[in-house]
Symmetry: C3
Subunit: 202 residues, 3 copies
């Protein structure tokens, strides 16, 4: 079950990177690179920061395979991908929670630092998207709008707290993933955003 | 004293990141992220390159706390921050020197490489600002104008030289910090810049 | 011979970074930084991912020296550099193959992961150029056009395959470098590009 969520999350993140690259009219290599970076970039940053080398995204061929499949799908069936944009958002929300929970757990096991676990859990979930935006030469979306990183942060904090306090592992993880998923979906439906602080309207 | 300088430097760098994020109208999460990245990004790059894992900026909760305070201050008291822009430049110059000296020393202890110590000392001081500019989608300021990174490089080189040659530690560090501070302040007052090489005027 | 190729490749990559920085009118520090980042950035990413710390580009003073020479050359003899743009493209193609082969070999020795070796070999060759473009605030060229990263990927894969299967080391390396060089030169002469997938013409 955990492995399935990991692979589904990776695949959905890869789709999001491939779609963004395709819209920017990158070439075949660019689309594959963006798919892979979006899916694995956050985990690679986490693994480098906790010294779990080589990073999982580089050492396990399944991640690259998923990126290739995602790139192929986006190129060959763009219309289908467009139609599936709502389900993709749902899987993305599930992947977000899973990556945050799994990342926080792995970081805590390696670094024994609570703060590192919470922050790296969140970075596992949102770092790939931030790298995608940097490579596409735009300010990362997560810094500008929507409750996205905040949901991941909450899930990472919950998982870390549960690990530290010795709560039953299964329950904590699923609760954190479900909570992140729920917050993310609700924020999409109701257009929740974090406050922005601007003088006057814009 | 050293700890105070470290925390003051971190706080001032966080202010600079929060102000830049606020001007770009990022949301609450974006402002906090930029404050944290600007303050801790250089040190995290250094720690990753010398294998001091997990990086100090991730493992010590005080850095994140300072970033949160800086973000709150910029959001709630923007006018005050604006008025204090001159003192902030002074503290920034002091933080710059301290980060360069401390970073060079830490890198030398871990890597035993003179060149790595000098370069990573400078990166400790200026890397956070470069990441801030990358996330805000602009070419890093330090690559374009002003004597900023050069002052940090000098301080890092002086500290590394002192460490290698066994000069009295206290004296070397404070001299390097003072020199960096003086050069930076003078370059601000007299608008010193490094040469740019352009054909004709622009 | 290997060392010569390494240093020539580094120097040519540094030239390419310095030229790009010069065109963007960065100051002296910016030109040196871009020269160094373009030449050593890919190798530093590789070394961080395989835990070979401190990274070679930071620990060996010759790389920084080459970056300084390249920056000085571009500043003082821009016309000459312009005239030599065709030879530079040739050396760049040779450096590309060498970096990919050497990077893949080093990554395999350290990480014992085939996939990490292939990907990190390619990143050794093209990562510096990608960082150069990120610092100059543009989408990396390698994601957009030309057969460049693909040639590096092929060389890295061939070297990794040869290492795994125990083929004679010298033969494999030179074949991979020559193949990468040939593909790159042919793609320049005949304007080969990877496919881009756009609706309608643009």
């Amino acid at each position: 079950m955990f492995t399935s969520l990991d692979l589904i999350g990776t695949f959905v993140f890869a789709i999001s990177g491939a779609v963004a690259a395709h819209q920017k009219k990158l070439d075949l290599f660019g689309i594959i690179t963006l798919a892979y970076t979006t899916a694995c970039g956050g985990g690679i940053i986490r693994d480098v920061c906790i010294g779990a080398l080589p990073p999982a995204g580089l050492a396990d061929w399944r991640y690259m395979a998923l990126a290739l499949i995602a790139a192929g799908l986006v190129i060959s069936a763009e219309d289908l991908v467009q139609k599936l944009s709502h389900p993709v958002l749902m899987f993305d929300a599930a992947g977000l929670g899973f990556f945050a929970v799994f990342g926080a757990h792995k970081a805590l096991m390696h670094s024994h630092s609570i703060e590192a676990a919470v922050i790296l859990g969140m970075i596992s979930a949102v770092g790939g998207g931030a790298l995608r935006d940097l490579l596409l030469n735009r300010t990362p979306v997560i810094l500008q709008r929507e409750i996205y990183a905040s949901a991941a942060l909450l899930a990472a904090a919950l998982q870390t707290g549960g690990d530290i306090l010795g709560w039953p592992a299964q329950w904590v993880s699923w609760t954190a993933i479900a909570l992140c998923f729920a917050i993310r979906c609700l924020s999409l439906v109701f257009h929740w955003n974090l406050p922005r602080f601007t003088k006057g309207d814009d």
